[in-house]
């Protein structure tokens, strides 16, 4: 019987106010093998750890249970404490009596009862813990950034500046992302392209950065420090090395029907195209769906005009395989689809547009060359209504429950720019709240109201009704005046909610990185580890983690880069010894474990086994402990119980369950 010590933490009043810690100590002493139990206000403090150290020495403890917060918080702390005092760190168990107990219960008697049960389960488990040894693995000194928007560009530049190689994978023909579509940026009103394009150029010119545009991540395997990634380089049909970017192909291309994605479908582009003039790389791609040559075999005009001989209709998608030590997700966002918001007549009227579409209309390179005009008749709008929170802060399933965070500011920007350039145009903004926390943000909004005369109305719009004369009747409500408003408008702009890029689900699945119900990637800790995914070696940059504006995105991009640099700076990583292991006498060789293993860590070999005197060749599962991440999927799939997870063995789990059900 092992000698076990139990240490019950008060966590100040976090635990002690709801759990009778003295009672937990008292009952712990009645558990089999428990020779020492005590409580202390802060077990994680230096003084608390000294008490653990002394107890280990005095009682020659062979296992300890700390009843405290989540193991995600302090398991490492207590393991290190045990290790310093001569106890194998894997002989430490945490009973989470804070998150799992005191924080979620109000009644002291109930909470105490549960804390005692959790303590018992941990004691039962620690009796069966094996003294495991961590291994080591090498680190590939190269990072992958998925997404080439401002977040990905900034992260890549910061990593590259530190001396590490970085690859950017961007699915569009050019890097630049959403920011390249914006006209001006708040709160300084400087031109988006003017501040973004130098960064794009810097990234492209950086000796440590490789950019794969028109490419997608196809497959990810491996683990922190040692990822193997397949990247699909989609056929561009243009030789990147030969193309000079002269643009004649786009001019001459007879297929001019495809909608221009960069301009949000407000106009069309040629089948061979670069999304915008400052594209990087400045090499066009051929849209295979629209290209006449690729679809009918006839045409070939671009090839004829290309002086450089860069057009190559025979190009095929190419898969390249690269090794990385760290992966940064910077997949950004899109605006939500407005199909469920029929009341705003978005699909009925060309003059009801999203803010991102307005951004393109106001941009000199946009579909109207920067002139503010109605898309229906080209007339200048004299009355514009902005509707806030379209799909944001939504309590039903049509929209998103969260605040998209950027809309209040960009609407103030739009309103201000319009009033500045077209002083005879009236601007009305319907809002729920105006949210402008941020440096110089509220001042910016107040300028819109006070200096530019933008009419802010607190209240929502119930309906936008297109009128026979081409105008739009906006049915709204003014909550401060408590009256209904009917306003005739020439243009309505919807501050459409943003959502993570839909591709992120696929990417998160490949990376085994968790995502929340809104498809935002989850942080390892929402406050203390905001740029790391819970999956080791995967980092988060930009809106894929949550709505944010450009300054915040750039700040987070830098933070993610620092985390990557910290990882790549290491030569070796300690590997988790809690990996799966197959019992050769029980293994059926049925491959079910290999089928469910998300890390490809299981293979098979045929070897002779001696099963109680019977020698026979059997197909046996073999776990590559460097690849195994200890997820346990194999152990629950194995019908014969041959697969076991070290540190979380079937026996240990059942001992815990038995202790709980006792």
């Amino acid at each position: 019987m092992r000698k076990i010590g139990v240490f019950v933490c008060h966590c100040g009043s976090n635990i002690a106010a709801t759990v009778d810690v003295k009672k937990v100590v008292e009952l712990a002493l009645q558990e089999q093998g428990v020779v020492h139990a005590e409580d202390y206000p802060y077990m994680c403090s230096e003084a608390g750890q000294v008490r653990i150290a002394e107890a280990i020495k005095e009682n020659k403890l062979e296992g300890i249970v700390v009843c405290s917060c989540s193991p995600r918080m302090h398991e490492a702390t207590f393991r290190k404490c045990a290790e310093r005092n001569g106890l194998n760190p894997y002989l430490v168990e945490i009973a989470n009596i804070r998150e799992h107990c005191s924080w979620i219960h109000k009644d002291m008697a109930e909470a105490t009862e549960k804390a005692v049960i959790l303590m018992r389960a941990a004691v039962a488990k620690v009796h069966l813990n094996a003294p495991l040894q961590a291994g080591e693995s090498a680190v590939t000194k190269r990072a992958l950034v998925i997404g080439g928007g401002i977040a990905g560009i900034q992260t890549a530049i910061d990593i590259a500046d530190a001396g590490y190689k970085v690859d950017i994978v961007e699915k569009e023909p050019s890097i630049g992302g959403r920011m390249s579509q914006l006209d001006k940026t708040f709160p300084t009103l400087d031109c988006s392209a003017c501040i973004l394009t130098p960064k794009m150029v810097e990234a492209a010119a950086h000796e440590n950065i490789t950019i794969h545009t028109w490419s997608e991540v196809e497959k990810v395997s491996g683990f922190v420090g040692n990822f193997t990634v397949d990247i699909r380089k989609k056929a561009r049909y243009v030789d990147m090395d030969k193309c000079t970017g002269c643009g004649i192909c786009q001019e001459k291309c007879p297929s001019k029907k495809p909608l221009n994605e960069f301009n949000r479908g407000l106009n069309t582009r040629s089948a061979i195209y670069t999304p915008f003039a400052q594209a990087i790389p400045n090499v066009p791609v051929i849209d295979a769906n629209a290209c006449i040559k690729l679809n009918t075999g006839k045409c070939g005009i671009c090839e004829k005009f290309c002086q450089a001989g860069a057009i190559d209709y025979t190009q095929k998608d190419e898969i390249i395989t690269e090794q990385y030590g760290a992966i940064v997700v910077a997949t950004g966002f899109d605006t939500i689809k407005l199909d469920k918001y029929g009341e705003y007549a978005y699909n009925e009227s060309k003059d009801v547009i999203t803010s991102l579409e307005l951004e393109r209309i106001m941009n000199a390179a946009g579909p109207t060359k920067g002139h503010l005009e109605r898309l229906s008749d080209g007339k200048a709008p004299k009355e514009i209504v902005f509707i806030q929170c379209v799909g944001s802060r939504c309590s039903d399933d049509r929209g998103k429950p969260y605040c998209s965070k950027i809309c209040c500011m960009y609407t103030a920007k739009h309103a201000m720019l319009i009033r500045d350039k077209y002083p005879d145009t009236n601007v009305t903004v319907f809002y729920i709240d105006v949210r402008t926390p941020g440096k110089n943000f509220d001042e910016f909004y107040r300028r819109a109201v006070e200096d530019y005369g933008v009419n802010y109305v607190k209240g929502q719009v119930g309906k936008v009704a297109p009128q026979p004369d081409g105008s739009l009747m906006v049915h709204g409500v003014d909550l401060l005046e408590n009256k209904q408003i009917l306003k005739k408008a020439d243009m309505v702009v919807l501050a459409t909610a943003i959502e993570p890029n839909p591709d992120v689900r696929k990417i998160a699945t490949m990376l085994t990185a968790s995502i929340d119900t809104n498809n935002f990637l989850t942080e390892a800790h929402p406050k203390l580890r905001p740029v790391e995914s819970p999956t080791a070696g995967v980092f988060l940059s930009g809106v894929c983690q949550g709505p944010k504006d450009i300054p915040e995105t750039v700040a987070q991009a830098g933070a993610a880069a620092v985390k990557v640099i910290g990882l790549l700076a290491k030569d070796k990583l300690k590997t988790n010894p809690c990996t799966a292991k197959a019992d050769e006498l029980r293994c059926n060789g049925c491959s079910q474990c290999a089928n469910v293993c998300p890390y490809g860590a299981i293979s098979y070999e045929t070897r002779q086994v001696n099963d109680h005197g019977i020698r026979e060749d059997r197909r046996i599962a073999v776990v590559n402990s460097a690849l195994c991440q200890g997820c346990g999927a194999c152990t629950v799939t194995c019908p014969s119980g041959a697969m076991d997870l070290q540190g979380f063995s079937n026996r240990q789990i059942i001992a815990e369950v038995d202790a709980i059900c006792r």
Binding site: E616, S640, A655
Partner: protein
């Protein structure tokens, strides 16, 4: 039947196969049992008739460990079990010569409600008799062939063999019932009714392990219930073990791999409809991940050991 014996003889005598796996006459007409035949002479006891419900695929695990090829006779539904074992690397296709045999539906003697049975005619293969004539101590009785058929034949998977080297004989259409009707009836029960239903059925269990031993999916070298590694043998001593754990755990272990061959229910001496557990899993798998028939091929990804982004996420949507 003679055609099968001739085939077996030829292959045995030519040395192409070292043994034949088939069915051997039992004490009565209605209780043939699986058997290996290693000589032409021993084939005199070979039998194939309406009572040869036994699925021979699982015996191929042992056969695979022996020297030489084994000729095995598989009915269409048995071939699914064999395929599933092949997927799980439990049998060696190289060491099997598979003759797919025709089937006109198999019989359950328990469905013949006469005492003192002496002889039954009409079960011979390929005789397509619609009526069984049963000679008893008390006179001659008749029963429609269909009425004496195993439950599984009323919901037959089909006449096609999914794996074979050659085919002998024709199969008959026997489907006349909805495979999931009974599952749906139980699903409609209240939780209390369900519990009462299963408790009353499972309390009949005598833990003879016949279901486990016959089940082609239950092919573990060491069953968890017999293992000392999990302390489960102690739990097996509790009186409610069969009612509350054994069959449910077994159903979980074979979920996604069970071909619905129905052997568990066929061999249960207590007449417990054990297949209903497996069929509930199959119905749920079909509903959540799309139609899936275990053992139908070697390539498709099994829904429970495969992940796709389109997978149903329990708790999201279905609650």
């Amino acid at each position: 039947m003679q055609e099968l014996i001739n085939k077996a003889k030829t292959l045995l005598e030519s040395g192409e196969v070292a043994r034949v796996l088939g069915w051997k006459k039992g004490e009565y007409e209605y209780d043939p049992e699986p058997a290996f035949f290693e000589t032409s002479e021993s084939l005199k006891d070979f039998v194939y008739n309406g009572f040869c419900g036994a699925n021979l695929s699982k015996y191929m695990i042992e056969a695979g460990k022996k020297e030489g090829k084994t000729l095995v006779f598989l009915k269409p539904c048995d071939s699914y079990s064999y395929n599933q074992l092949l997927r799980e690397h439990r049998v060696d296709r190289e060491k099997a010569y598979i003759v797919g045999v025709g089937c006109k539906g198999k019989l359950a003697v328990s469905k013949i409600p006469f005492e003192g049975i002496l002889n039954i005619s009409g079960a011979e293969y390929p005789d397509a008799a619609e009526t069984l004539t049963v000679e008893t101590l008390y006179g001659t009785e008749t029963i429609a062939y269909k009425d004496a058929m195993l439950e599984r034949c009323h919901v037959c998977k089909g006449k096609e063999h999914v794996v074979y080297d050659e085919l002998i004989g024709e199969s008959a259409d026997t489907v006349d019932a909805d495979r999931f009707a009974e599952v749906e009836r139980i699903e409609a029960m209240s939780p209390e009714e369900k519990f009462a239903f299963f408790q009353s059925e499972l309390s009949k269990c005598i833990r003879c392990n016949a279901c486990r031993n016959v089940c082609p999916a239950c092919s573990c070298r060491k069953c968890v219930f017999d293992s000392t590694a999990f302390d489960s043998e102690q739990k097996a001593n509790t009186t409610s073990f069969e009612e509350k754990m054994f069959h449910i755990i077994r159903a979980f272990h074979v979920a996604g791999r069970c071909t619905d061959c129905g052997e568990c229910s066929r061999v249960c001496p207590q007449g417990i409809p054990l297949h209903l557990f497996n069929r509930k899993f199959i119905k749920d798998i079909n509903a959540l991940y799309g139609e899936y028939q275990a053992g139908s091929d070697l390539e498709s990804k099994a829904p429970l050991t495969n992940f796709t982004t389109e997978d149903a996420e329990p708790g999201v949507g279905r609650g």
